[in-house]
Point group: C2
Chain length 337, copies 2
């Protein structure tokens, strides 16, 4: 609560109005549409606001108008740059239009997501962003009941809750397989973090690779979040374990790929001659490694912006011609292949 000159009394529009010699409604008008108030009145109101340090109460405003100017977002992890980097342009685009963002992390857990959605909906957001397309039945029911614009990102769905901006993980996996095969590889492995989407990419990669004549693809599931350490361990396992040593490794993230590269170099393998490495996400550091890492790039800034714009279109009640937007991906070939 804001305090009037230390007198301990809460400052409201009524306080400001009294000070400016007008009613509370006029203060409200001065703030929401200054052109509806005479210049002189406006001046006195602004003076009173300055003097009292009045900050409008958005809670009361939201209750009265049934608009919260809040958009909430759910992402798997705050510290994972892949997600935080589309959140930045998403927030920016919405903030420019007067919305604030309430952000929570689900930790890749659909039931945690369900609990968070309830909590978020209780704040009566005007719109919502979800990461991924896999939600519990209860989550979908809550969302439909809320009757607000919802955008699902970082994946593609035939039957989105509402809007969807992303790319096909299966297609990405297949594209990497084609890329590897066309380079002449026939013995590949994959290293995958605990993430349903990463597994979908891996499966599509393996299926396509074998289907087009490559050897069966060995996979290491690192059993947790991606890290350099996990990548190192995974390659060690691949080399020391059963089966032929792969000549190419497709990693579910650049972080894992970095670990694979470090382990390979520590073992005296040269990249890409002895071992080719492909990452996913094309994080900033990928281009800077030695050799530079070949990776799958998704335009995350564009994805964030498009997701925000899709919601804004819905909120403006304009026609949404394409509820599902495929932002695609691109394999960026560098030194590791």
């Amino acid at each position: 609560m804001n305090v009037e000159n230390g007198t301990g009394k809460r400052v409201t529009m009524a306080t400001v109005g009294r000070m400016a010699g007008v009613s509370q409604v006029t203060v409200s008008r001065a703030l929401s549409d200054p052109s509806k108030v005479s210049p002189e009145t406006l001046r006195r109101i602004r003076e009173a606001i300055e003097l009292t340090g009045f900050v409008p109460n958005a809670i009361a405003g939201a209750l009265a108008s049934n608009r919260s100017n809040l958009v909430t977002a759910l992402i798997p992890s705050l510290t994972n740059v892949v997600y935080s980097s589309f959140m930045a342009p998403f927030s920016e685009t919405l903030r420019a239009r007067g919305y604030q963002i309430l952000l929570s992390e689900t930790g890749f857990d659909p039931s945690e997501e369900e609990a968070l959605i309830s909590a978020h909906l209780s704040r009566r957001p005007d719109a919502m962003l979800l990461t991924g397309i896999q939600h519990t039945a209860a989550t979908r029911r809550l969302l439909l009941g809320a009757a607000i614009p919802v955008v699902e990102v970082w994946d593609l769905s035939d039957s989105p809750v509402d809007l969807c901006v992303g790319f096909s993980h299966a297609e990405a996996g297949r594209a990497v397989a084609d890329f590897a095969l066309d380079l002449g590889h026939s013995c590949a492995a994959s290293v995958t973090a605990s993430d349903e989407r990463a597994h979908r990419r891996r499966r599509a990669f393996a299926d396509r690779f074998s289907a087009r004549g490559g050897a069966s693809v060995r996979d290491v599931d690192v059993g947790g979040p991606a890290s350099i350490r996990a990548g190192r361990t995974a390659l060690a396992g691949l080399i020391e374990g059963q089966g032929p040593t792969p000549r190419l490794v497709f990693c579910s993230s650049d972080l894992l790929a970095h670990g694979v590269m470090i382990e390979a170099q520590a073992r005296g393998l040269s990249i890409p001659e002895d071992l080719a490495v492909i990452g996913f996400g094309d994080q900033d550091f990928a281009a800077e490694l030695e050799p530079a890492l070949t990776s799958v790039r998704v335009d995350r800034k564009r994805l964030g912006r498009l997701a925000a714009e899709a919601l804004l279109a819905r909120l403006a009640k304009s026609e949404v011609t394409h509820p599902v937007v495929d932002v695609g991906f691109e394999i960026v070939r560098r030194g590791t292949t």
Copy 2:
């Protein structure tokens, strides 16, 4: 808004109460303190909630109770792991106590921070987290007027707005200088990103280094955010530019240090024999590089947790014995020194 079985009517506590044959207040009680309601009534209310898909309106609740259960946070950058990694335990600790977190990024800009603080305060948060101790005068006034618990983190202040959890950047800089000198170094340089706190560390490092007999410390200001690329460029400039080539480089972040290492290795310099490197932040990858990077570690998880606990103590109106908490730092020596 939630919708009752598609009839288009909003579901409120009154709707639920009518359905369960009780008044609206009883529904409120059933939700906030079930022990105050008879088991049979509770059962009927829960049934009605289930049937209608009722989600409580936290906006109305906040307005009536003058408690929003919201804590807002301002950090310089969402995508910088240094900040997002203390936000995770901060959020977690508060969420366990029923608070939600509204998070925005300031982009290291105090005037942007000021604008955001106004917006945040309009949501009437119960408490607030700020990164750093440098705020505009208007910001401080707004904060004092709001009369809520505020915690400033990632720095130390003699005169905090309210609470403070962090460490001394000047002391960190001096400790690194002592560390380098004790290792026998006498010719050092620094590579620094555009960040006031980084510059404070750099200055303290240079001052102590010279004061204890080292040569004057050359510095490269990368003139932007830290990145591997910027680190590479900085070292190249240091080697090709005027002045003696340093035998040790203190970087304002691990990312810059990584860039310095890559550039050094690309030039055939061996680390640490030809060039010693020290980072800051001790990010996950630091220990995994070859050689592993010596860095300054700050326990960010603990910092986040302590910041949350400090706010919770204030909110519980319990005595706060130590408004300023120094979480310290630690130089982790690894292969690059």
